[in-house]
Amino acid sequence: MTAAIEVENLRKRYEDVQALDGVSLSVPEGSFFGLLGPNGAGKTTFINILVGLVRRTGGRAEVFGHDVESEYRQARDAIGLAPQEFNVDRFFPIREVLKHKAGYHGVPAGEARGRADEVLKRVGIYEKRDTRFHWLSGGMKRRFMLARALITDPDLLILDEPTAGVDVQLRHELWDLITELNESGTTILLTTHYIEEAERLCDEVAILDSGNLVTVATPEELMDRGPDRITVTLRDAPASAPDLPTLAANRREGRVESVEMDGDQLVVTATKGGLVAPDLVRALDRAGHEIVDFDISRTSLEEVFVEMTREGGSDQQTEPVAAADGGVGRTNRGDSE
């Protein structure tokens, strides 16, 4: 099966900043793929290369087997993009903007009209169809961005921070809508700052940091890589951590990272905590400790993400951003998170 996105050794340099430094990854058709990374990691540059707003410096980038530069028409025909920054035609009411966007993609006028009404209803802003984008509320603007990405019925939907700055209710509504689209076969590429969003929605996530691909894995696999925290509350807790043979054995095998007392709680940090926990409970019982409470907390994707991008020094290398003074930022386009 052809991958929805296939990039190999993709590079982009903005003068003295290496925004993408040899990224290679494949997004399977029909998948829900997350692109995570701190500010300036290269996420928006990656997306903009796919849609033709940024020219790559080197490497290969294909959408459904079509090179994004030499076969840009076929590649762009497959893509629906909802960028993070609002880039909507402000001369026309939103219904007309949608009809124009559909027309640019070759949809005849009559069909475009029907599609515009359909997507506006789908995202819940049909009653605002004759309003210009500028007059919509923040949440409606986000909904519109999604509607515009959907008007061309894309095979690949690219969502760059689609829920940035929206309230919880709308975020959940957008999640439901995106999930529905994915279930109907649309490939989704999602960039987000909300790790919960990636954890909840994505089949697979790639973590970018300072233009480098750190890893590609399922959220489950990533969370498995982080340690679990076992907290056991003891009655008449000892001053120091009890010397338990099972903990020592697990430590030797590298499964247990640390054991310490925190007040009346014994805190054990271990990879695959679920395997360590039964032995720990039995050992404590045998040693005569009475367990009052017990808890295992799994490492969150957020903690894994922070850990993986901590040493990348991403704050030191920031991608160029669009001109902040409202000027034309085409010459220094980059991540704008």
Partner: protein, 261 residues
């Protein structure tokens, strides 16, 4: 992506561009209307009576009729240039040019769409000015084919220049500068208000380097049947220049000049 669907994209962009200026008649038509009523009143009627006729190729042409083709050219090319440059620059400024840019439309179709819309505006404004002139004097059309051909070529040419301007500008001041300090002076020194043959040497020879002389005279030939330069030769050179600038526009779009990083 079939050819038919590519054509739909082209038609949509042309329609969008034309609707943008048609829905703002106060911006599009009122300024040239007021300006040209003033031109015809002051230069044509008040000063024109004192100037009398201008002699071209042995014919004495009333001054108001003499300036009419130049005013048509001035209005037509200014509007063609302004429309294309404004539309592209405004789209870049507010990023919404990304709507067509991220579509499967070919770069050449995008360019031609912007140029066609700009030329349409130039033709409409040029026609408006001719109609205003008809209220001040009797306007005839001596060579309709030449008139249409020149009107088409000069509006297409300046719309093509407008595309370059819209891509090049990185501030609003750049757009104003191009129109006020390049286009208008060239037109004013292009024989709109005087016959270039009346100029002493070397100003006459220098004027012949100004492409506006050929445009004004071409349109004058269409209206009045008289010209200071050979209209067929002028039309050929202007057509070639238009094709060259259009090709440059397409190359700039393909390279992403001013559009992509």
């Amino acid at each position: 992506m079939s050819a038919a669907s590519g054509l739909t994209g082209f038609k949509t962009l042309v329609r969008r561009e034309i609707l943008r200026f048609l829905r703002r008649p106060r911006n599009t038509f009122v300024p040239p209307f007021v300006t040209n009523v003033l031109y015809f009143s002051v230069f044509g009627v008040i000063l024109g009576d004192r100037v009398g006729g201008i002699e071209i190729a042995g014919d004495a042409v009333p001054y108001i009729l003499f300036i009419l083709p130049g005013l048509v050219v001035l209005g037509a090319i200014s509007n063609a240039f302004e429309n294309a440059s404004f539309s592209i620059f405004h789209g870049r400024w507010n990023d919404y040019i990304e709507e067509p840019l991220t579509s499967p439309m070919s770069y050449s179709r995008m360019v031609v769409a912007y140029i066609a819309a700009g030329a349409t505006r130039g033709l409409l404004v040029g026609t408006l000015i001719a109609v205003i002139g008809a209220f001040f004097t009797t306007v005839g059309v001596a060579h309709p084919i030449y008139l249409v051909a020149f009107a088409l070529v000069i509006t297409l040419l300046f719309s093509s220049f407008g595309v370059v301007g819209g891509l090049w500008a990185d501030d609003w001041d750049n757009l104003t500068m191009m129109n006020q300090f390049i286009v208008r002076p060239l037109v004013f020194f292009g024989g709109v208000f005087y016959a270039v043959r009346d100029l002493p040497s070397p100003y006459y020879e220098l004027s012949l380097l100004n492409p506006m002389v050929y445009m004004v005279n071409g349109v004058r030939y269409g209206f009045l049947g008289v010209s200071e330069v050979d209209p067929a030769w002028s039309l050929a050179v202007l057509s070639a220049l238009t094709a060259a600038i259009l090709a440059i526009d397409v190359v700039l779009f393909k390279r992403g000049y001013g559009l992509t990083e």
